[in-house]
């Protein structure tokens, strides 16, 4: 069953200006629930732009996105935020932890606007850090974490609101092979727990991983032949 459906999606940056760029050109794509889908393609192929559209982080210039048959494209910003915070968890290429805050605080950040009781939230964030083997770094400032630690904290942060979908943009770009393999192991455990995972990556370690159900290739803003 498709959890997310993209229909004739287009994303144009700087529309009407001399530097206009069409990053996504009429993409149709279905993301199956509980599967790991990888968007593969060279830099500039439109992977990140498509990922942002699928994760409700940006609005398409035209086309439609359906989440569990619910139209997202026309939702007001407030509801789109609600969808984003309840349904999606994001892991960014640069991890994007907030410097100066501790690892634990970074993990708790997405839950702050929800008004979750503090003690319970701290327990949940601590448990996630423990799950990814970085509990001992809970009070360390985000800027002091190694690349691998920062990524695991970022994954914990992405999961703190119990999302249905984990979205990761080039998650292994700043990791060595061992840490990249470690990340794919984490993806395996998330898949086993029923999460849908969408990854944008051009790292063979990612799209060749056994845990991946489907690889969708992109080039110049379009899906390559063969992708449904």
């Amino acid at each position: 069953m498709s959890l997310i459906e993209a229909r004739a999606l287009r994303r144009v940056f700087h529309q009407g200006r001399p530097d206009e760029l069409e990053a996504v050109k009429g993409v149709d794509l279905a993301i199956e629930e509980g599967q790991v889908t990888v968007l593969r393609g060279p830099s500039g192929s439109g992977k990140t732009s498509l990922l942002a559209l699928l994760g409700a982080m940006a609005r398409p210039t035209s086309g439609r996105i359906l989440l569990a048959d619910r139209e997202l494209t026309s939702l007001p910003e407030r509801f789109l935020t609600e969808v984003r915070r309840r349904t999606f968890g994001f892991v960014f290429q640069q991890f994007n932890l907030v410097g100066g805050l501790s690892a634990l605080e970074n993990v708790m950040l997405p839950a702050y606007p929800l008004g979750a009781p503090r003690a319970g939230l701290e327990r949940r964030a601590g448990a996630l850090l423990a799950r990814f083997g970085v509990a001992h770094r809970a009070s360390a400032r985000a800027d002091w974490l190694s690349g691998g630690e920062a990524q695991r904290v970022a994954i914990a942060r992405a999961l703190v609101n119990d999302p249905r979908v984990l979205v990761a943009d080039e998650p292994t770009a700043n990791l060595d092979s061992a840490l990249s393999a470690g990340f794919m192991e984490v993806v395996g455990t998330l898949k086993a727990a029923g999460l849908t995972v969408i990854i944008a990556s051009h790292d063979p370690l990612v799209h060749d991983a056994p845990v991946v159900d489907r690889v969708v290739s992109m080039r110049d803003g379009r899906l390559e032949a063969g992708a449904p």
């Binding site: 982080m57 940006a58 910003e77 960014f92 950040l109 606007p113 929800l114 008004g115 979750a116 609101n161």
Partner: protein, 380 residues
């Protein structure tokens, strides 16, 4: 969202705000410092003006309803004692009292003392009662001797009978009270002449009429009513504080420009942080709430620090930085401790003129950044 969840949300966002302020403590401390100094300068002027107004009102409360002075060639001259009875006979006048007072300049301390004969002096002819400022200036306590130079140049020794505590500083601080005989020894005054005549008029509405009649009765005199004195004080303090405020407004404007630049110009790091927050599920309203808290904490801290410092400066430190500009001629009199008088309306105005604009200046650019699609952070 339940009330408890709402409270938790506020608490979490406030926690985040404080952590955020701590991370940029250099920028925020410098803002609080500059901002606090501006509030300090404006609040000091307001406090000092208000305190002087209160002191002036206190002077007038205890003062006469009408003062009649004689003018000769446009200058204040002594008035014959015979006029007291004539003025007392004016309809509406309850009492007429001749007063003797003058100024005594003390070259050593460069202070101008007000010497006065009270209606009933409670000491001897060689005794004085001095104000708290005079005692401080001359190093006097009760029982001490004060040597003054008489009108013919001879040294006159007076014993300090009492020091008047600073209840109403403007009235008493530079005051020296003595007996009529002592006054005559000091100034060689004519016993048949007074400095002026004070009238008591119970009905305030009769003041202009009484003043008019006094002028008809004593040719060449001037009659000053309590209302005119109040207006004069008001005008002097308004004018002086207005002048100081005008000068200070330049500082406020300079601060406003600095604050706007500091607060409004979000750094790339701050914009990126807003993008991260939106990307992980924060709403525009969450970002704005944090920025509002940030602005409110910085400006409230600066406001509080500035106001407290101004209070200490004016009421403990004697407004050392502003008094010369605001007190005018009385800089010649001994320094006085002002009785605290703070105008609630003025404080509220100052609060709204400083805290609110700064908070808005913080929120507006954040709103601009927070309305951008969060995917911008993915591409940064």
């Amino acid at each position: 969202m339940s009330f408890r969840a709402w409270l938790e949300r506020q608490r979490s966002l406030l926690d985040y705000t404080l952590a955020s302020l701590g991370r940029r403590r250099g920028k925020n401390l410098s803002l609080v410092l500059v901002y606090g100094l501006t509030v300090f300068a404006v609040a000091s002027t307001l406090f000092l003006t208000e305190a002087l107004r209160a002191e002036a009102a206190e002077v007038l409360r205890g003062g006469p309803d009408v003062v009649v002075q004689r003018l000769v060639a446009g200058r204040h001259d002594l008035i014959p004692a015979a006029e007291v009875e004539r003025l007392a006979a004016i309809r509406g006048v309850e009492r007429a009292v001749g007063r003797r007072w003058g100024y005594l300049y003390r070259p050593a301390s460069q202070a101008n003392l007000t010497v006065m004969v009270p209606e009933r002096f409670w000491g001897g002819d060689a005794e004085l009662v001095v104000g708290e400022g005079v005692a401080r200036l001359e190093g006097l306590v009760a029982g001490a001797t004060l040597r003054l130079t008489g009108w013919s140049g001879e040294a006159l020794d007076f014993t300090v009978r009492e020091v008047i505590p600073a209840g109403s500083a403007l009235v008493t601080t530079d005051l020296v009270l003595l007996s009529e005989a002592g006054y005559q020894r000091l100034f060689g005054a004519d016993p048949d002449r007074f400095t002026d005549i004070a009238l008591t008029v119970p009905n305030a509405r009769e003041l202009p009429t009484v003043a008019q009649k006094a002028l008809q009765l004593v040719p060449g005199a001037r009659a000053i009513t309590r209302l005119e004195m109040a207006r004069t004080y008001q005008a002097i303090f308004d004018w002086r504080s207005g002048l100081v405020m005008l000068v200070l407004s330049t500082a406020v404007l300079a601060f406003a420009l600095v604050a706007w630049d500091k607060a409004a110009g979000l750094s790339a790091e701050e914009r990126r942080e807003i993008g991260i927050l939106k990307a992980i599920g924060w709403d525009v309203s969450d970002v704005l709430l944090v920025k509002t808290w940030e602005g409110a904490v910085v400006s409230a801290a600066a406001f509080t620090a500035g106001v407290v410092a101004a209070y200490l400066h004016v009421f403990v430190g004697g407004a050392a930085l502003l008094a010369p500009a605001l007190e005018g001629w009385s800089t010649l009199s001994p320094r006085q401790h002002l009785t605290p008088a703070v105008g609630g309306l003025q404080l509220a105005t100052l609060f709204f003129l400083t805290v609110v604009p700064y908070t808005v200046a913080t929120v507006v650019p954040a709103w601009r950044s927070a309305t951008i699609d969060p995917d911008a952070v993915m591409r940064s």
